[in-house]
Amino acid sequence: MFLKLSFPSLLHSTHVCLSCFIFLCCRLCSVRTVSWIYLSLSLLLLFLPDLGSDAPPVTISVASDLHVGGVILKLVEKTQIKRDWSDHALWWEQKQQWLLRTAWTLEKYGIHADARLLFMPQHKPLKLGLPNGITLRLRASFSCPVFQTVMGICRMLNIRHPEELSLLRPVEEKKKKKDKDLAEEIYDLTEVPLSSGTLMSRPCLYNGMPAHFVDSPQMEAIYKMLSVTQPPPAPEVIAKQYRPASVVDKAHINGRWLDSSRCLMQQGIQENDRLWLRFKYAAFYDIEPKYDVVRLTQLYEQARWAILLEDVDCTEEEMMLFGALQYHISKVAQSEPQMLSTNAAMDDLESALMSLEVKMEGENSSASEFNVIVCFRPKRLTLKGYKQYWFKFQDTSISYFKSKEESIGEPIQQINLRGCEVAPDVNVASQKFLIRLLIPAPEGMNEVYLRCENEQQYAQWMAACRLASKGKSLADSSFQSEIQSIRSFLAMQKTNSHGNAPAGDESINTHSLVSPRYHKKYKPKQLTPRILDAYQNVAQLSLTDALMRFLQIWQALPDFGLSYVVVRFKGSRKDEVLGIAPNRLIRIDLGVGDVVKTWRYNNMKQWNVNWDIRQMAIEFDGNVNIAFSCVTADCKIVHEFIGGYIFMSTRSREKSDTLNEELFHKLTGGHEAL
């Protein structure tokens, strides 16, 4: 009976020692007469990866009652190499199992002589694709359940609530030949020491970053990359990405989730393999911008890509709003490198003073008046076009006069813009600068168009109108920034009309902000006014607020958070789709695409998994039972989704810092875990 121990990368060198191996075997057999007992004596072949690939194996002999720790100790002694072996452990290749319990004897593990054991580090480098599209190289645990591996990764990256994330096998990219030279940049985090800290303890932050990111400028750069949103991708990049075309395509992606209760090694993941880190459960708990910089950023990136790749369907209006928010976020993120921790009380005071200032300046009307000639026409009164008047902006109203000379007297009309809708109608190429005002009045909405002569004038008047519609006067501090944002947006339209936009910071191709469907539907310059229209409502948001707004709108989409799996319901003859949402299950008819039935977790009594026939049965209140087998994903994945969502709903605010890992495994673990 023999026990082989080897290192995985050195299999080819086994033949070298085969002779000695056989020799030893014979010798052992002659010595021990009792061959019956499992592993009465073993012979260990040890390969040391650190000494190079052709290092000879090390052999040791052990008895079956020796515990695993003893084996390792012998092993290390034999090698005579002094180094830190603390991360190494034995991996039983045939059984796909780590021998992590050092107190267990070989016998207890049931290791036969023909077992093939490898002695290797538990933490190995892994290429990790983040939601923002960037790849990190970091050391992750290959020996503990994926759930814990993700916890470790999240601790390293400073992402709270790791239970919401998981690892996904990436979609194979069709490598074109010409893409090969575009070597992807990989950020290396393998030097980060492995923390063995307590679970979920909030890491100490230095300068807003976990300690290991403060070490060097390179590390700080990586942290910045993690915590600051990426600039909008080039339209070609969006077009090139894999887009699921149907519900079935989306269902296939969900078949790629790793099993949370088994380790990476058990799932065939090798050193340096590529995996994606993604938010898996659409139940984002307790987002606190102060602590969740990385989490919020990555969540936004995942949401943004979900929108751009039409993973979640939305209407055109919603798409434009998403586009506007992306534009705003990318702009603010560039100008606002670090979030300032401001004192809330101070802010209060300042805003109070600010409003006081505004009020006073508003009262002092002559100070905020500015005169520009603008043409004006109430819609539908004349088809001819615009008539020129002298316009004056006062507080939140505009008044107009026949000429400048008459502007001292009574205006022809005064219009208060408070509460009105302001919409742009701009075409830079044809020098059309229109402001459309919809002013509510008891009789209905008055539609008024203001025509400006040039960009400069337009930006000023547009900004003034927008502020006025919110009840702010020109004296408001945001006036200049408003003008600035309008002008930068116009600049965008200008660069777009000149063919390919240079990749400057000011110019963003509007095609970068919407899904490829709209690339075909609209030209960039057609998109600009539409996005601009939506932009005016979000232009004043801070970075955090804008990110939160983006997530909110994303979460409010009807299809948000639905993970699809193609299933075959018991008794049904055709494939159907099961949608798993944070609060319910839905059954979708593949032919029509309609939701046929909804079941809510609230009414769920229990669910059972038959691991033999890979079937799930769920029981709801009132004797509603459903059973199905899964087609595009393993039933463990479906089971984990449902159990995971139940787990997510058990989290309560009081103990938000401790993660009940045991409960998670209870709810999501399969029979292997038990």
Binding site: E317, G419, E421, N537, N625
Partner: protein, 547 residues
């Protein structure tokens, strides 16, 4: 300042109007005026010790100062003058002192011609730091000086630095800055207090009587409701609502508890026929009493265990974002300017109401936006069958709150039945107000429970609302309603007993609930939970037993 004085005038006008209108309500009014005059007294008290006229010669010396000084002070002088002209709530003594000190400062500056202009500016600021505390201590103070304190960068920098430091670690300077900030805060509070608009309103009760009361512009509907309830001694229930009725357009809307009443009332035109009603409306919070009928997108009403209701509400409103109920279906849309109604398939999304264009599928990307909800409110249309030839009387209206007359910008939608109508209206409310709505409800319930704490007898009736039949109170309501049919239930006498008050229902209440009540009775005969009955009707569904 102009604005403020305008308001003043407006309030007085209101008051006069009310005087003409409500002679029958003399008693109420007298009390009202007593209170109101008291407030006015308080407002004007600060003027008593001030001088009646601003001293004009104060302007002259200042004007002679250097350009720099002129520049930095023009604004404040202007404001002071404005304030003085208005003669309201400004302590003239303090102002005078201030002006004198400014004058002094400036003259000392002038004696040092070498100082650079930036140095001068800083000096001016410093002067202000010193003088500002003086100002603050003498309240009410002039607005202009406060503004200058805001410009004082140094102080705010200090404040920023000390944010979060424990107080014993602060230096003297920092403590002074902190104290100053505190003082400014207090000052701001007082200024706010002094400038509050007040409006005299008239509230109609369902028994055709009316009450007059004064509201200030900061009051929410909830606060007004509370004071009304206190005065009227009617039973406390979360269903009491303030309802805006627009007679000209035959529509009405229940004000949400968090809304600002004055803001809404200022949308009315001067000669408006609109009314503000104070009645009990069970549809106001029916959504939370029977959430299963509104949040699950189901076609039929059903019962649900109390525990599940709470879970459902928590699920919908407890998260970080509110999920919009899945609301879609065929509605009638009134065509612009015509009396014809067209069928369309409408869908509600968080971003607005959409419809499916002809010949298209229901895919999100093909939907056409009907309207966005930011600027519109949802109203209940009344009697549109005869007014607009609507297919049914279950109509809702979407319009900007400022629109008060017929307009193409008002959108009319008609539902096939009362259930659909209520579902749509409530879903739109959820979309518009989100979590706020639930907070309102919880607040209302908390208050009503507190009000009933002393009596265990009636406490259960609050929770019941419309929902369950187990409660004698609501049952009696139902029966009295069916007994009396459509006849007006005006109890002209001021009997304050709870049962009578709670049996006063408005038209909309009756129409709003009849459907609901009936369906409740239907489902009650099946004592099974909601989902169960659905599942049983589901045709091709295998149960585990069959496996």
């Amino acid at each position: 300042m102009d604005q403020v004085s305008d308001e003043e005038v407006e309030v007085r006008e209101e008051e006069e109007e009310e005087e003409e209108d409500s002679d029958k309500e003399d008693q109420d009014l007298d009390k009202m005026f007593g209170a109101w005059l008291g407030e006015l007294d308080k407002l004007t008290q600060s003027l008593d010790d001030g001088r009646p006229e601003p001293p004009p010669q104060q302007k002259a010396p200042l004007r002679q100062e250097t350009n720099m000084a002129n520049f930095s002070y023009r604004f404040s002088i202007y404001n002071i003058n404005e304030a003085l002209n208005q003669g309201d709530n400004v302590d003239l003594d303090a102002l005078m002192a201030d002006l004198c000190s400014i004058e002094q400062e400036l003259s000392t500056i002038n004696t040092k011609p070498n100082s650079s202009s930036s140095g001068l500016a800083r000096f001016l600021l410093n002067c202000h730091i010193q003088s500002i505390r003086q100002q603050i201590n003498s309240l009410p103070l002039s607005l202009s000086l406060l503004k200058h304190s805001y410009l004082d960068r140094e102080t705010s920098l200090i404040l920023r630095n000390i944010a979060g430091k424990p107080s014993h670690l602060l230096t003297k300077e920092e403590q002074a800055a902190k104290l100053k900030a505190e003082n400014i805060r207090v000052a701001l509070e007082k200024i706010k207090e002094a400038q509050v608009k007040k409006l005299v309103i008239r509230v109609h009760l369902s028994d055709e009587s009316s009450k007059t009361m004064m509201v200030d512009e900061r009051q929410t509907v909830r606060q007004v409701l509370d004071s009304l309830l206190e005065k009227s001694h009617c039973g406390y229930s979360a269903d009491w609502s303030l309802v805006e009725t627009i007679n000209e357009l035959q529509m009405e809307r229940i004000f949400e508890d968090h809304e600002n009443l004055v803001e809404n009332l200022l949308n009315w035109t001067r000669d408006s026929q609109n009314r503000l009603m104070f009645t009990e409306r069970i549809e106001k919070y029916a959504l939370f009493k029977n959430p299963q009928n509104y949040l699950l997108g189901r076609k039929e009403t059903c019962e649900m265990a109390e525990r599940n209701k709470e879970a459902l509400l928590e699920e919908c409103f407890g998260g970080s974002s509110v999920s919009v109920p899945e609301m879609e279906g065929v509605l009638w849309l009134k065509e612009d300017g015509k009396k014809s109604w067209k069928k369309r398939y409408f869908l509600l999304r968080a971003s607005g109401i959409y419809y499916v264009p002809k010949g298209k599928a229901k895919a999100s990307r093909d939907l056409v936006c009907f309207l966005q909800l930011d600027h519109v409110n949802v109203y209940l249309g009344q009697d549109y069958k005869s007014k607009y030839k609507a297919p049914t009387d279950y109509c809702m209206v979407l319009k900007h709150p400022q629109i008060q007359k017929k307009s193409q910008y008002i959108k009319y939608l008609c539902c096939d039945d009362i259930r659909t109508l209520q579902q749509w209206i409530n879903s739109i409310r959820i979309t518009k107000y989100g979590k706020q709505l639930y907070t309102n409800f919880q607040e209302a319930m908390r208050r009503s429970e507190a009000a009933y704490d002393w009596s265990s007898l009636s406490s259960s009736s609050i929770k019941s609302g419309s929902s369950s039949s187990s409660l004698p109170e609501s049952q009696s309501n139902h029966s009295s309603q069916s007994d009396s049919g459509v006849s007006e239930m005006t109890s002209s006498g001021h009997t304050r007993s709870q049962s009578v008050v709670s049996s006063i229902f408005s038209d909309a209440w009756r129409r709003g609930t009849q459907g609901e009540v009936r369906t409740h009775k239907n489902t009650q005969s099946f004592p099974v939970s909601s989902l169960c009955s659905c599942g049983l009707h589901f045709p091709c569904f295998p149960s585990v037993n069959l496996i």
